[in-house]
């Protein structure tokens, strides 16, 4: 203290006067720094939310077209004579195709749209209409002679042209679509023959081959995911709850318990692909369970989900006040009875919420499924029965999306985005259920 008075001579006259009203340069600098710092934070939040919006917009914009399909809606009449005539020919479908082309031509000319096209162009646009028409009239003979409306699904590239995915500049003439066909498509749009309708096949259908993006559906893989989630639920809920009860209520403080705790926290941080390796080595290589089966996928995802469920279950067991246990023990219940009859029911809503969130996490997990063969498999059919659904090869939603994303045909990208919308709707529904459950049953002690 003494050196202050000794070292600093009184120089009050040379120092500028400070004012309480006007801030000096240093204060201004500090305040500016304060504002800048605050702005950094706002920018960071803004950037995060911006990314979220970009992600959402690009999912919705790229995925929605997967839910619609383009159809050529043409109404025309096939008379009985034409039918008899066609059935007597050798190339029966070609005759029907000619009838269709004529009908289309007439309708275009009625609207003064003059476009030259041949049957091959129609083939590129809608596949083989002759076969569809023939099958229809063979089955519905009574419709002959009456005008019938046919909705023929357009090829995926035509779909892409209408949605803006394929443009005249980017189109390369191929056996799938040629530049001249686009003139026809434009004319058809003008004539009102091309229509958009909801693509039910995308939701209920199964995966198609690598060159037919239009026919691909996500239905079979939704079922595959469902069976996997069933396995995860049936295994991880009891095991997770039992493990949490032991660790939270009974475990003495010793090496063994410590080991379990360390293991659980480490497993929560192990990369998911390592669980895939585990599944491949143990369940497929060692136990010879079938490849690509939802059962194996479910087992792997169970092991992955367990730490999540255990952590949330322990939190909700901890939230039950000790007075409940004490009261139960006080009236003569054993420790086991106190836990199972009193603590567990009170913790149930929290456990349920944690389980749903764990399931949602497992539903979106892809990497382990790649290793147990869910990707090489093309899910062309639904499982035959309930039990065979577990062991028959199938795909799962995220694996199906990955399969589509890695195919060469750009038409599948749209399907992949559409699949993501379906997946996110499931996740959203599960999370909303979890939030509602928490709101409804949450109890503050």
């Amino acid at each position: 203290m003494t050196d202050i008075s000794a070292g600093v001579p009184p120089t009050a006259t040379t120092e500028p006067k400070t004012s309480l009203v006007a801030s000096d340069a240093r204060t201004r600098r500090r305040n500016a720094a304060e504002k800048r710092f605050r702005a950094y934070g706002m920018v960071a939040i803004g950037v995060g939310l911006f990314f979220l919006i970009v992600l959402a917009v690009s999912i919705v914009r790229s995925g929605l077209p997967a839910f619609t399909e383009t159809v050529l809606s043409v109404e025309f009449t096939v008379s009985e004579e034409q039918f008899e005539d066609a059935e007597s020919q050798i190339l029966k479908t070609a005759v029907y195709e000619a009838i269709f082309v004529n009908a289309l031509n007439e309708q275009l000319q009625a609207k003064n749209l003059d476009v030259a096209f041949d049957a091959a162009a129609i083939g590129r646009l809608v596949g083989k209409p002759g076969a569809t028409i023939r099958t229809f009239f063979r089955e519905n003979g009574d419709q002959l002679g009456q005008p019938v409306n046919f909705d023929l699904t357009a090829a995926s590239r035509v779909d892409g042209y209408i949605n803006g995915r394929v443009t005249r500049d980017t189109l390369v003439d191929s056996r799938f679509l040629q530049g001249s066909d686009l003139d026809l498509v434009d004319a058809l749009i003008e004539a009102g023959i091309v229509k958009e309708r909801f693509n039910w096949n995308f939701l209920t259908g199964t995966d198609s081959g690598v060159d037919n993006p239009g026919g691909a559906g996500i239905g079979a893989s939704v079922i595959g995911s469902f069976f996997m989630m069933l396995v995860v639920l049936v295994l991880s809920l009891p095991i997770g709850v039992a493990a949490s009860i032991y660790l939270e209520e009974f475990a003495p403080k010793n090496r063994f318990t410590d080991l379990i705790e360390v293991n659980i926290s480490n497993l929560a941080a192990v990369p998911s692909i390592v669980f895939g390796i585990l599944g491949l080595a143990v369940f497929i290589q060692f136990m010879h369970l079938p490849q690509s089966a939802p059962l194996v996928g479910g087992l792997v995802l169970t092991l992955m989900t367990l730490p999540t469920i255990i952590i949330s279950t322990r939190a909700s067991l901890k939230a039950v006040p000790p007075s409940i246990r004490d009261a139960a023990l006080g009236v003569g219940a054993s420790k086991m009875q106190a836990v199972f009859h009193h603590v567990l029911p009170l913790a149930a809503p929290g456990i349920l919420t944690g389980t749903i969130i764990g399931l949602a996490q497992a539903l979106g997990e892809t990497a382990p499924l790649l290793l147990i063969g869910m990707v090489g498999y093309v899910a062309r059919e639904y499982p035959e029965a309930f039990l065979s659904g577990f062991v028959e090869p199938n795909s799962a939603m995220p694996a199906q999306i990955y399969t589509w994303a890695s195919r060469a045909d750009a038409g599948f990208y749209e399907k992949a985005w559409g699949g993501i919308i379906v997946l996110l709707i499931f996740l959203l529904a599960m999370n909303i259920i979890a939030v509602l459950l928490r709101r409804r049953f949450e109890r503050r002690w």
Binding site: R38, A44, L49, L267, L278, M336
Partner: protein
């Protein structure tokens, strides 16, 4: 008898045992339940548990052990020369299993009689034809030896199944009768039941340990197998990654260095994106934001964490990649050749990690006691000075831990790099070039080809081991940092 039926029978026995045990206990005290040691239901549960647990244990063990024993016995009965080396042994065995499954399928569809399927005189050509008609197409490697082995395999499997059904049900009945004989008023049923339940709880808790053991064993065994075929020094220090699936052994270069470089480079970019944004977001949310802003922005940011990684992967491949290509590609600056690049994957992974960094840091910043902030304000510091000089230093160990955890997430992330980073293994500094990572190569080496004997497939396990060790190491260091340097308040 299918396993499902055995399970149903055992559960039915347990249910019957519950009712009988309860009745017997009540009868033994002439209907006066107060003279029982435990509640009547405890006696019932006791009997049911005795019927269930030994039987189910035997069932599970049998299902695990039977295929191994049968495989060994079939292999030892194969004639000399049928198996060239260890690698083709597994192929021969999978052929045997396929033929055996095919035979069972043919019999169940009525294409083949049971006698034809089992008789040792059946000609191989007939069988191949019948199998083809039920949809089991046999490869060229299948011959009469395999058919005989398959018949033996089927015979042993069906005998084993019958024996198992018999044994399991017998054990269930025996357990039930034993427990019933014990049941009388003095018997301490509750103690017994609670001991069994406690054992079950401990068993459930041990699943975590078993999983870890399973992971370590499956990695270690296959990695050792790999190092037997491929020198470890070349794996760890080799700078080229060029697997060839056609030439087996020696022909491929399997150096891990380019993969590790790709992994670290992508993770670095991801952290460069995620850490500043996440950290500033956490600071703003915990120190500046009003409760309403916080209640709105925090859940929205956390949505980013709940989105499955496949979505981010597709986002990288189809949105971010083309976007970057438009700016840095040949039309723009000319640094980038294709949409998949280190930058694409790193950027998207950074977006994924933002909520991870921000929630963890938010918790840690909130844990710093208010008194420290008040003290700083009292000395005249502004809010930002308080944060920079008081709050952040106090929260630093926790934040470092959070960043290390985020790094471990980034290193182990698979889908984003599989779709967004490209497939070429390169040692390059240009962030706009396609590179590949450890996880992406695990996927590409293990999907498709089912032959686990070649070094090209086994290398995936060595890569998995590397990944496991790195992420585990990062997690351990993160925990250590948090524990060691955490300021203890109060």
């Amino acid at each position: 008898m299918p396993v499902l039926w055995i399970l149903l029978i055992v559960f039915a026995l347990a249910a019957v045992g519950y009712v009988l045990g309860r009745q017997r206990a009540v009868q033994s005290v002439d209907g006066d339940a107060r003279r029982l040691h435990s509640l009547p239901s405890c006696y019932g549960t006791n009997v049911a548990l005795f019927a269930l647990i030994p039987a189910l244990t035997v069932l599970v063990l049998w299902l695990l052990v039977q295929p191994m024993i049968i495989s060994n016995s079939v292999v030892s009965n194969l004639p000399e020369g049928a198996v060239a080396d260890d690698g083709s042994l597994s192929l021969v065995m999978s052929d045997v299993r396929r033929v055996a499954d095919g035979l069972s399928l043919a019999v169940s569809e009525g294409e083949m009689t049971q006698t034809v399927a089992t008789s040792p005189g059946t000609a191989f050509e007939d069988v191949a034809e019948t199998l083809a008609s039920v949809g089991v197409v046999l490869g060229s490697s299948v011959d009469t030896t395999v058919l005989r082995a398959a018949q033996e395999y089927r015979a042993m499997t069906s005998t084993g199944r019958v024996a198992m059904a018999f044994l399991v049900i017998l054990i269930a009945v025996a357990g039930l009768t034993f427990a019933l004989r014990m049941t009388q008023g003095r018997f301490r049923a509750r103690t017994m039941v609670e001991r069994v339940i406690l054992a079950l709880l401990i068993g459930a808790a041990s699943v975590a340990i078993l999983t870890t053991i399973g992971i370590v064993l499956s990695l270690v065994f296959n990695t050792v197998e790999f190092f037997r075929l491929y020198p470890a020094s070349e794996f760890f220090f080799g700078t080229t990654w060029a697997p060839s699936f056609s030439g087996r052994g020696g022909a491929s270069d399997l150096g891990v260095v380019p993969l590790l470089w790709g992994t670290l480079y992508i993770s670095l970019i991801a952290l460069l994106v995620a850490v500043p944004i996440g950290l500033f977001a956490a600071i703003y949310l915990s120190e500046y934001a009003s409760p309403s802003v916080r209640g709105f922005a925090k859940p929205l940011l956390e949505i980013l964490a709940g989105i499955p990684t496949i979505v981010y992967g597709l986002f990288a491949l189809l949105t971010v990649g083309p976007l970057l290509l438009g700016v840095f590609g040949n039309d723009g600056v000319g640094w980038m050749q294709g949409g998949t690049a280190v930058m694409t994957a790193g950027l998207v992974m950074g977006i994924m990690l933002i909520p991870f960094v921000s929630s963890l840091s938010d918790d840690i910043i909130n844990a710093v006691p208010q008194a420290m902030r008040d003290g700083s304000f009292g000395l005249g510091a502004t809010k930002s000075e308080t944060i920079k000089q008081v709050v952040l230093p106090a929260a630093l160990p926790g934040i470092v831990g959070a960043i290390l955890l985020a790094a471990s997430r980034a290193i182990g992330e698979t889908m984003i790099v599989v779709l967004g980073a490209g497939a070429a293994a390169k040692l390059s500094l240009n962030p706009f070039e396609a590179m590949t990572t450890v996880t992406a190569k695990i996927v590409s080496q293990l999907t498709g080809d089912a032959d686990f004997a070649s070094p090209e497939a086994l290398v995936a396990f060595a890569l998995g081991m590397t990944l496991f060790v790195i992420t585990l190491g990062l997690n351990v260091i993160a925990l250590y940092v948090v524990r060691k340097y955490r300021e203890q308040y109060e």
